[in-house]
Amino acid sequence: MNPIKTFQKGGVHPEENKLSAHLPIQDFPMPKQIIVPLGQCLGAPADCIVKKGDRVLTGQLIGTAKGFVSANVHSPATGTVTKVDVVMDHTGYYKPAVFIDREDQDEWIEGYIDTDELITDIKLDSKQIIDKVKECGIVGMGGATFPTHVKLMVPEGKKAEYIIINAAECEPYLTCDFRLLLEKTQEFLVGVKILMKAVNTDKGIIGIEENKMEAIELLDKTINEHRDLYKGIEVQPLKTKYPQGGEKQLIKAVTGREVPSGKLPIETGCVVVNVASTYAIYEAVQKNKPLIERIVTVTGKSVKKPGNFRVRFGTPADLLIEAAGGLPEGITDVINGGPMMGKSVSVTNFPCIKGTSGILLMTLNEAQDRRQTNCIRCGRCAMACPMGLQPFLLHKLAKQNNFDETETNHIMDCIECGSCEFTCPANIPLLDYIRYGKAKTGAIIRARNQK
């Protein structure tokens, strides 16, 4: 095993609470009606190409990507489109979605290879792989949902030296990536090989936090057993520290390189891809399967039966909560994602999408903001900030709407990890104000660049 590495600046260590780590992935039965939002990725929502009354097959394209940063949307089931309407999704807004009445039997699109056997032979070349990834609508499934094909298209003059697989899963509670690593180890490793081929590199590093020792050992063992097959893939254990899975932190920890302010990770010669996305890429490239399902962790301290479910997109989240033993008494917070980066939702029946890594239920005691007091200038937030920013200052500047100063103090470098707010003894909602400032500053910068 390689020596444990970590990023240097800041970071916090919240209680891990990986309650569902030992629970195998269960297939979640699809409901009669599924609601597939068209905006499932960062960037522009897809353009709907089906209409009411159309019969769609499982895996059929129903929304085409619009613009550069956008991803295709496919039908997760076989059935009839009943309407194209709006639905309140996890963002708390009404967004366009396709409503599909499902048939009992899955009828797959042409070209899908329906097999559970491992396919190790990579037939496609680099360009074909990227096209396939684009066609299958694969996005970063850690939660940010950035289209993966955009990451893989290395700009001219740059060289990707490393493929880094983000298996840190630094968010407390979430276990979906961990379970996938344990149960689909070989498929995942072939996925890494595919990624390495896509960006023409022979180095692939899998970064995992040391609290997932089981996965580290299993991966090490599998790679050693099939040396020639998985040549160039390395497992890098990382210290259990939040936000170890932040893209920039992961690069720093694994390679020791720092992404320059305002630049993309490719500047350091690294392409970072999430575990679930890697597995989805395996399925897309080897089995011709578009991205229509993912693993969702349903968890929480008071949840009766937490679990990891394989969910087709468009399944309402309340059914998952139901399967996990129903909404427990006293739940006040339903969070889409993990407790640190996730966002509370305003409806429980929001459809699961590509970025839904977990559904976390919290009671008032666990989630409530305690009484806010004045800043005592302790500087803990600055110590905790993994980007080396000064959250107390940014909070104050954003509150004053002083957006010139927020820009010069690098508010745009904030990765919104929430370490500052987590560590603040005065319970100041630092991240709220920083996000507000970041949105405003970003808008000003964009407007200026357009001139």
Partner: protein, 312 residues
């Protein structure tokens, strides 16, 4: 002792005298010639420096007026929202367009009663931030968030959040119609409209352009775009913007007919006399005004328990 005092006073006195003479000549030499009209025009303006005219302050507006008067011979397009520009025009020997006093109008009636909370928001009390997070406690994605960005920005203390309804209320005596609140509302709910004759004005108290079914789901008084008012209006003052009726203040004669036909009570008439008790119908005569249909009570399905929290 007294000697020291005397010397100090003398030195400082002489120094002061010499510098005063120097300053006088310097001031004469580098004097900036300024049009005296600017001072006169500025005196006619309120001096609140609210920025509602689009300039940095009252003096900047006065300067712009004098400049434009000299160049084009008019002051069209330059106006203080709260003052009659006639005085300024008189100073410059011109005439100004008729003054039309304006007022900020809050176009949302989704109060705690009309659009009951389904979730509870906990986080920074900035509308612009909450707007990026979720639709709102009542579920209407176009409605007022009630965190008071408009209140914080008002220079005249003219807008306040009503604790009972959770909506901002404009104080008609204090509002000058500068429009700062309208600019700072992330959802564009506040509009600056003419006060109207006798301070009477009619407007659609809703900005939701969504389909009717969606509006009904979240609010009992939102405009559903049924177009009844559109058909009723004798002056063609009402237009549809998506699924939302909009009353053009330039065409509206404040007859109040649309108010009566609106099935949702979304159209508000301000400062109209209270409707008289229905007069006994004359024999053989048709009743002039049909009784206003009551808005049907709308059942709002609560998907999440009210105590649920939306957090950042």
């Amino acid at each position: 002792m007294s000697n020291t005092l005397f010397i100090s006073l003398a030195v400082l006195g002489i120094l002061g005298g010499v510098l005063a003479v120097v300053l006088y000549f310097v001031a004469q030499k580098f004097k900036v010639e300024e049009n005296p009209l600017i001072d006169e025009a500025e005196a006619c303006l309120p001096g609140a420096n609210c920025g509602g005219c689009g300039f940095a302050g009252c003096r900047a507006l006065a300067e712009a007026c004098v400049k434009q008067a000299a160049e084009k011979g008019n002051i069209d397009g330059l106006a203080c929202p709260g003052t009659d520009m006639g005085k300024v025009a008189a100073v410059l020997g011109l005439t100004a367009a008729a003054f039309e006093p304006k007022i900020a109008v809050v176009r949302c009636n989704g109060s705690c009663q009309n659009s009951p909370s389904k979730v509870h928001y906990e986080g920074a009390d900035i509308c612009a931030f909450a707007n990026t997070l979720y639709a709102g406690e009542g579920g209407c994605s176009k409605g007022c968030l009630g965190l008071g960005d408009c209140v914080k920005k008002c220079n005249f203390d003219a807008i306040h959040i009503d604790k009972e309804t959770g909506l901002p209320v404009v104080d008609p005596d204090k509002c000058v119609g500068c429009g700062v609140c309208a600019k700072n509302c992330p959802r564009g709910i506040i509009e600056v409209r003419p006060r109207g004759k006798k301070d009477r004005r009619v407007f659609v108290c809703c900005v939701n352009t969504d389909k009717g079914a969606l509006v009904v789901k979240n609010c009992s008084v939102g405009c559903i775009g049924c177009q009844k008012c559109l058909k009723e209006c004798p002056f063609e003052a009402i237009e549809m913007r998506g699924n939302l009726a909009y009353i053009d203040p330039a065409k509206c004669k404040a007859c109040g007919k649309c108010v009566k036909v609106c099935p949702r009570g979304s159209i508000h008439a301000i400062n109209f006399p209270a409707p008289k008790p229905e007069a006994p119908a004359l024999q053989g005569a048709e009743p002039v005004v049909k009784p206003q249909p009551k808005p049907e009570p709308v059942e709002v399905k609560t998907e999440v328990k009210p105590e649920n929290t939306v957090k950042a």
